[in-house]
């Protein structure tokens, strides 16, 4: 991921201006948090964690993991299909441990 993404975490409650940044990035969209968005270097949104079925939040269920992989496919310039498949497999392995 690090080859193509600068990853940051913003805590809407603990970071100063966190709520303001969240509102600017997310607008009126709802669906709880965590919520993710991938931006280009100009700050333009490329894709978010809002899947057709709603915000995937922390991707745990298979369809949520699949949407996260889709987020990468829609935004990456350096990762190929194998890279994304590898990330998806790792995430899936971790997510399995969280499923009830």
């Amino acid at each position: 991921m690090g080859r193509d993404y600068v990853t940051i975490k913003i805590d809407v409650e603990r970071n100063a201006s966190g709520d303001a940044v969240a509102k600017r990035l997310r607008g009126e969209r709802r669906g709880g948090i965590p919520w993710m968005v991938i931006l280009d270097a100009d700050g333009k949104e490329l894709v978010s964690s809002d899947a057709p079925s709603g915000n995937i939040g922390c991707p745990v269920q298979p369809e949520e993991v699949a949407w996260f992989a889709e987020m990468l496919r829609r935004s990456t310039t350096r990762l190929d299909d194998d890279d994304v498949a590898g990330i998806q497999a790792e995430l899936e392995a971790y997510a399995k441990t969280l499923r009830r």
Partner: protein
Amino acid sequence: MAIDRPGKLTVGAFAVDSFPDYYVVDRGGNLRVADLQNGALEATVQMLLAEPAPSSLPTELTEAAERAVRKDKRLLVLLGGDDDRAAFNQVSRLDRALRRELSNEYETVPAPLGGPLAAALGVTATEATALALDARGAPLGSIAMGGLDRDRLWAFAREHKVASADAELILARALAQATQEKKRVLVHLGAPW
């Protein structure tokens, strides 16, 4: 080393080839520099002193410290009896924002006064004490729990919590890095709860 064992075993083991010969050991007990040039001693010592002290985290704090590191929080050790902690909790219970501040910023660890954790932390106070530590166990400050009021607890909590980074700054830096490295920015919006 003024006196070696018979057979100069230590001199042999460290390949001492002149006197004086310098071998610098850090605070963690690790040999860091061997056969140091005499003129480099001061700079070497200063370099090691500038490093953070090695962690000596008591085992009672291990789990809470792991959570504190993961969540970028501090540790709050409440040294005292059940009544003392109940009184402490009563102060925060009266102020929802204060309760949330403590929950967001601190991993709380209860422990008895005079117990092994108090001893490990070097606390000799005989009255109930709240002790703020960083996630590596370094003490930041303490406050007596007896007679504690809301304002003093607010001040204590604010003084010792992790400095809050500005989200605008975090995002601006990430975008600047993305521009420079021709990357994307993945933003994760979360909350303590």
